[in-house]
Assembly symmetry: C2
Homo-oligomer: 450 residues x 2
């Protein structure tokens, strides 16, 4: 799982194209860039994520003997080509923006410079890795902006789209500012703090709810969060109040209670009152249960006395926008800029750089998209990260990227922090870039426009 | 990937609950059932999928020494409990409906009967496996119903949510009636026929579009599908007409052309005319490019001359309904029926069976949900598939499940085949089931309702 998947996790056309490149010895340097074409509805920005997994994938790219035999036996490819695949490794360069960077449509966040077959072959999995984590980090950032000061935990594994989605959603959400995840493997693999309590089945398996609470408190004395809504939420809160002194005498402190159904704001108010009247003012209230962005905003706006939220399906499927219109496109081959001009899908040619300028308040003010060899004012967002198939520096620790991401969110201008109706952030196209696009169009036949 | 993921791909609360069960020696038989609570908007039915991967997961469930050490070092669990986890295997029974079965809300499609800790531990990954394939098979079935006689290919890997989503979406779509997938690994792993041609980058890497077509035809002489929209769709179609005789003289037949942008219906008509006028009446037209259900219906309804479709993001993310409200709930423990009564989330207790009745036309007419030991008329949908941790029969070949699924779709009553405004299919609740629910409610305190 993760980056160590089979190289056959790709589109067939990558391999059929490679056969064509092989036959004609088309191995000159190609430059591909990954970018998002447009923002989903009601979104003002995106957050870069998935770079580490992309670099892992490129560093370890290799066909196994079994896969090579299977390809040869498929009858689709020539024997010399399969022998060539056996030797194939990724030996190219990669430039990218750091994970956690805020970015906008048409800004390339990753560039691959490599012999054409290598740069082509990696397309499908690179998009697959980048697209999903960008999707989830960008979605998670919205929850983070909506609920300042609240504990936010990813609860989505069960309804994430498979194993890798569950794991990488936990990573991407943590990157964007979530406090942790219920997914144990995310702590094991990435150090994302794991959170968790009990399910309704734990209560149901006991003949008595109070007995279940006691059993759980004894089993997890340092992490006592009790689930209240299996039968009757407020009645369960009363049981917690009655139970607390007994547990306290054993040295066990109840940390929190969890609500998972019904009108969460209403239950939270009633439960808060019951706990406070019982002297349990330090016991936190944690809420979960099909929480969407909209329901979370509503609870925050109405000042529901809830200290933390478990967010599941809406986060890990990015339910309002479950996919992004993104692409990985050839911008240069054999020293010549290239441009696709398909309707609605035209691209900016050449190797590009993003220069970001900040206002007096320290917030992002404007980006300029231009060619790499056209130096301009501002922060250069795209940096070299891999040369000749090897990382330039060791993996960036996730906590470091998370701090960087928090800094990025802090520098978002106020209007872009709005969850609805955010304005369009200015990304200007430099003259050097439009001039190159025109030049490519004249050479290849007819004008196009982005 | 697939079923061979780490056992740590689970929610932390499964492990904390298991510590609680371990401390109290709560190891009696538990019965959990998986079901979907409600249909997404504008959906009339669901299709069962993911059973094979679920059984693989259960058969191979085991903690590795490294995982056990990590759990012990986490400080969350007692040493005797970690030793117990080392020995833990799945030794229970599973009952399920066959993959490809059409089903409806509240119908349990999988039942686990096992010692409580085992049945509890597997919850997260079982839901993760079943939810996603059901989601995609159910979505794919809509495309299949919408486009009878058309070639439908899954193109979604790059925008699927990670590696496993890409692979399993290909499997689930094929199960539901798609002809194949672009994902090579899906053929390698599951025998899903792989389809593929070329990307725009292949055209762009050549200095001349015609040269790119010739090169590709030589590299893949048995699979010549040419992509037309890199620069100008109709101009490319004219090139295909001029090129065909030369390739024919070399024994190479152009099978199809692909359109990937713009107004697909309009381009298809123009291209069809150009091809027909050029004598290429046998060359098929294949279309792709952000095709949603809505766009596909429109192309079908307006009789666009398109022979096949590549469906990507909309299929593999089930974009209109990217998650289902599903659950895996405790229905019995230690010989006693159990029931959760949380608001809006109450469950039917006990071990259940679905009896399906058919009309005179052979179509599904009505389901009856009742207790397993309450025999009724109709087809029993739930069958034993695993006993004492081992499959009762070898894996069902995917092609066999695909044939079964096609039979299920053929027996859908006409109104349920509608893609919008389908009526509610009748699922009746037997008296035996309501009586048991009442009985459980009286025993545990207060009435509830589903």
């Amino acid at each position: 799982m993760g980056s160590q998947t089979s190289v056959l996790l790709t589109d067939l056309y990558q391999l059929t194209m490679l056969q064509g490149y092989f036959d004609r010895e088309m191995e000159e340097t190609a430059v591909f860039e990954f970018f998002v074409r447009k923002l989903p509805h009601d979104r003002g920005f995106l957050m870069a994520a998935g770079l580490e997994q992309s670099l892992d994938f490129l560093e370890t790219l290799q066909f196994t003997p079994e896969e090579l035999k299977w390809l040869a036996d498929s009858g689709r490819f020539s024997r010399p080509f399969v022998d060539y695949l056996e030797r194939l490794r990724f030996t190219g360069d990669v430039h990218a923006v750091p994970e956690g960077t805020i970015f906008f449509p048409h800004e390339p966040i990753l560039r691959v410079t490599a012999p054409l077959p290598q740069a082509q072959l990696v397309e499908t999995r690179l998009i697959n890795l980048l697209h999903f984590q960008i999707l989830i980090a960008s979605k998670a950032a919205r929850f983070v902006l909506a609920a300042p000061g609240k504990l936010l935990i990813d609860f989505g594994l069960r309804r994430a789209h498979g194993a890798e989605a569950g794991l990488m959603a936990a990573r991407a959400a943590y990157l964007a500012g979530f406090s942790g995840s219920a997914t144990v493997l995310a702590e094991h693999r990435f150090g994302v703090p794991a959170y968790g309590t009990m399910a309704h089945s734990f209560i149901q398996a006991h003949d008595d709810e109070r007995e279940a609470f006691v059993n759980f408190a004894h089993a997890q004395p340092n992490n006592v969060t009790l689930l209240l809504d299996t039968y009757d939420t407020e009645a369960a809160a009363e049981k917690v109040v009655l139970l607390a002194p007994q547990l306290k005498s054993e040295g066990i402190v109840i940390k929190a209670v969890r609500l998972d159904s019904g009108d969460l704001g209403d239950h939270a108010r009633k439960v808060r009152r019951i706990l406070d009247n019982g002297g349990l003012t330090d016991v936190k209230i944690f809420a979960s249960g099909n929480l969407s962005e909209g329901r979370l905003w509503n609870l925050i706006e109405t000042r529901a006395p809830i200290d933390g939220y478990g967010i599941g399906s809406d986060l890990v499927t990015s339910a309002d926008a479950p996919h992004l219109d993104c692409a990985y496109k050839l911008e240069e081959y054999a020293g010549r800029a290239r441009r696709k001009r398909s309707e609605g899908k035209a691209t900016w040619p050449g190797r590009k750089q993003i220069f970001r300028r900040y206002g007096a308040d320290g917030c992002m003010a404007e980006d300029l998209l231009t060619l790499e060899d056209d130096p301009r004012d501002g922060e250069r967002l795209i940096q070299p990260v891999m040369r000749a198939g090897r990382r330039l520096t060791p993996s960036v620790p996730l906590t470091q990227s998370r701090t960087y991401a928090a800094g990025q969110l802090a520098r978002l201008p106020e209007p872009l922090r709005r969850l609805r109706g955010a304005p369009v952030y200015p990304v200007k196209i430099a003259d050097a870039l439009t001039a190159l696009a025109d030049e490519v169009d004249i050479k290849t036949g007819r004008p196009g426009s982005v």
